[in-house]
């Protein structure tokens, strides 16, 4: 097993053994869909119209909430320092952690979307589009989030600040994400979303690694 895949496996194991935060995030994600009908009113037609936006807001908030666990625990117990001096370049370490983070925070949200589809009275076609759009868009959220998490890892309570820094950058993801579900040009919105994810995932490990290095000095 290479160092890269060992790191991915380690992060996934840690996420499921320590604290069960991945599960809590899914509960939070579903909770937003439970609260929204109380705020908006249980009008099924209206809910179905708002559903794409609500799903994406719920996903964005859950991802922002989960950001802090990306580097913080490793920075606090010193394993990040060890990883910096290990054979794997820090950029690859960040990429491995990104993959693991996506698997434990974004993938469960996608798995939970059937629940949201029922709660927000989406039809099956819209649910399919939602799954596709979340699958294509959440990597970009994770990639932006990694930069925010890396930048604030040195701060005692950086979680809120990371969310404030990352939320404006995530706006294009939400625009194209919702567009891919319900827009008039859903196909091209999906392609743009995918492009956004690919570009940010390619750039983010370098930016985040740079931030981790300079933050430690």
């Amino acid at each position: 097993m290479s160092g890269f895949s060992a790191l991915v496996a380690r992060d996934i194991r840690l996420a499921f053994r320590a604290g069960g935060e991945a599960f809590t995030l899914v509960v939070f994600f579903v909770m937003i869909a439970v609260v929204a009908p109380f705020a908006i009113g249980p009008d099924k037609v209206l809910l179905a119209r708002l559903a794409p936006g609500l799903v994406w807001i719920a996903a964005l908030l859950s991802m922002l909430l989960g950001l802090d666990r990306l580097f913080r625990a490793d920075a606090e117990d010193g394993s990040l320092l060890l990883l910096r001096h290990a054979g794997l370049p820090l950029e690859a370490v960040v990429a491995a952690k990104l993959i693991a983070h996506w698997l434990v925070t974004a993938l469960p949200l996608i798995v939970a979307t059937p629940l949201l589809a029922v709660l927000l009275s989406m039809d099956p076609a819209m649910w399919g589009a939602t799954v596709l759009s979340l699958a294509c868009g959440t990597p970009a959220l994770v990639a932006f989030g990694a930069i925010g998490a890396a930048v604030t890892v040195g701060l005692p309570r950086g979680g809120v600040l990371a969310a404030v820094l990352i939320a404006p950058l995530s706006i294009p993801v939400v625009i194209f994400g919702v567009g891919a579900i319900a827009g008039q040009q859903a196909g091209s919105a999906l392609l743009l979303l995918l492009a956004l994810s690919l570009v940010t995932c390619a750039v983010s490990p370098f930016a985040a690694a740079l931030a981790l290095r300079t933050g430690e000095e």
Partner: protein, 255 residues
């Protein structure tokens, strides 16, 4: 603090880099630059109110809002450009004043952006019938304001200003992707905000008197930024000095 007078005269780059040197040479510039700014504002406002035609056929006297709106909108992007260059200075050349320049520019940029949005809303109400519309340029300018606020919050969150400088530099460069979006938003999404009308092929699409008044106002606002930036860089240098002196005094009291 006196430099050895026999030492070789430092070149312009290190004169810009050394905080003490910067304090020394920038001091005498503040008053003349402020006077020049005031003079340009006087000329620009006079042109805007008395020379430029207020009553064009479709927008009436609200036209005069653009003499505040366009310079602020220009500065909202220009200041970010300055901050991005300063961020490169921090990360690439480890320039000791670059992070100070970044920190000093962030609140100024936020203020200019907020003013651009505010004057834009004042313009939008009588001309378009709404204070706010989710149009491409307005939205991207609002995002720019949020990025400024995030960078300010980041600066305030760190105790160690040296680390804060590098981290803020990285965030500034990541946030810079928004600048081309603001710039080209009017060409990509032609919704409500008018398109480019000055630097277009076939010459500017406005009367020469309006163009001249606008040019003077933009120059005046840019100089205003320059003066405020220099003053707040000086303030920041002095603040850091005061902090380190206070720290030294506290350590002395311990011993």
């Amino acid at each position: 603090m006196s430099l050895d007078s026999t030492a070789k005269k430092p070149n312009w780059f290190s004169r810009l880099a050394h905080p003490g040197e910067f304090l020394r040479w920038s001091g005498p510039w503040i008053l003349p630059l402020s006077l020049l700014t005031a003079l340009l504002f006087a000329i620009g406002l006079w042109l805007a109110f008395f020379v430029s035609p207020g009553e064009t056929e479709n927008v009436g006297t609200t036209l005069r809002i653009i003499y505040m709106h366009v310079p602020n909108a220009w500065l909202s992007q220009f200041v970010y450009g300055v901050m991005a260059v300063a961020a490169l200075g921090t990360l690439v050349w480890r320039h000791p004043l670059a992070d100070v320049a970044n920190k000093a520019a962030a609140p100024l940029g936020a203020a200019f952006t907020a003013l651009a949005l505010f004057t834009g809303a004042l313009w939008g109400r009588p001309t378009w019938g709404t204070f706010w519309e989710w149009d491409g340029r307005m939205t991207s300018t609002l995002v720019l304001l949020l990025i400024y606020l995030g960078i300010i919050a980041l600066w305030r969150a760190f105790d160690d200003q040296l680390r804060a400088g590098r981290i803020a530099a990285i965030v500034t460069l990541v946030g810079a992707v928004n600048i081309p979006i603001v710039k080209f938003s009017v060409d990509w999404w032609q919704t409500l905000h008018q398109g480019s009308s000055v630097l277009v092929t076939g010459g500017p699409r406005m009367a020469p008197t309006i163009l001249w008044s606008l040019a003077v106002m933009m120059l005046a606002f840019t100089l205003l930024f320059l003066v405020l930036h220099i003053v707040s860089i000086r303030t920041e240098i002095l603040r850091r000095r005061a902090t380190s002196l206070a720290r030294q005094a506290a350590m002395g009291a311990d011993a």
